[in-house]
Amino acid sequence: MISRVIPVAGDSGVYVPCRQSVVSFGSGAIAVAALCALYLFDPAEYRLFPPCPFHAITGFHCPGCGSLRALHALLRGHLVEAFDFNPLMILFLPILAYMFLSERRESFPNRNARRAFYVLWHGWAVLALIVGYGILRNLPFYPFVLLAP
């Protein structure tokens, strides 16, 4: 089992379950409300959703640009359109779901799958993927224009 208490001296790393459950319930409720709003309104048409601050300031696309439009398309069932707005985000959704599930339960799904996924450099691979993607989607020629939202 995963122990959330880290046996080190000092104040770091001790989590009170009660506070954690309140935080996760609150954030879950906010996420559901945001997803409902995202299903009902298209971010490309309504000003209800904020633009990307990075894009607004620099003019470049960040790795997250197009995420809201992609989620809206995905919630409406348009997978291809969603992939068009932000392919990396769509690819990361099942991976993130797996990571959150496997952090909660150590036996999920089994030991071999965990060992294959949690290699020591998996964090660096994610970093390289996101930063590289952020650079490539700003290149103004084919095929990289496909990555831009």
Binding site: S3, G13, R115, L120, G123
Partner: protein, 121 residues
């Protein structure tokens, strides 16, 4: 738990590593207590990077990426410190993203309301 010598995952109560035979129980910070399992915060770091779209999410990923390596090396205190920093930067990124959204919504509402007034007059 992870073997501090070879990094392979073992049963929490294992005495020896199944892969290299290293004795595991003596290397723990607290004998008899729960073995150290330190969250990396990689998943929330990815989430805030892709949805808050701020460079602080990248900082969180940089810290989160180092946690499992430190744990495999047996440096649990260093891993806990990196884990704490990853968590902190996740919240910083989330907080700034949230503040931006709130400011944006207030701004849009203000523009709509003021625009409505000026049209009436």
């Amino acid at each position: 738990m992870y073997c501090p010598k070879c990094g392979s995952e073992n049963d929490d109560n294992a005495f020896r590593c199944t892969r290299c035979g290293n004795i595991l129980q003596q290397t723990q910070g607290s004998p008899g207590g729960p073995p150290p399992s330190i969250p990396t915060y990689l998943a929330p770091a990815i989430l805030v990077t892709l949805f808050c779209c701020l460079p602080f999410g990248i900082v969180a990923i940089v810290y989160a990426a180092q946690v499992s390596g430190r744990m495999a090396g047996g440096d649990y205190i260093g891993a806990a410190e990196l884990s704490r920093k990853a968590k902190m930067w996740c919240w910083v990124s989330f907080g700034i993203g949230l503040a931006f959204i709130v400011l944006y919504v207030v701004f849009i509402v203000a523009v709509e309301v003021l625009g409505g007034f000026s049209q009436q007059m």
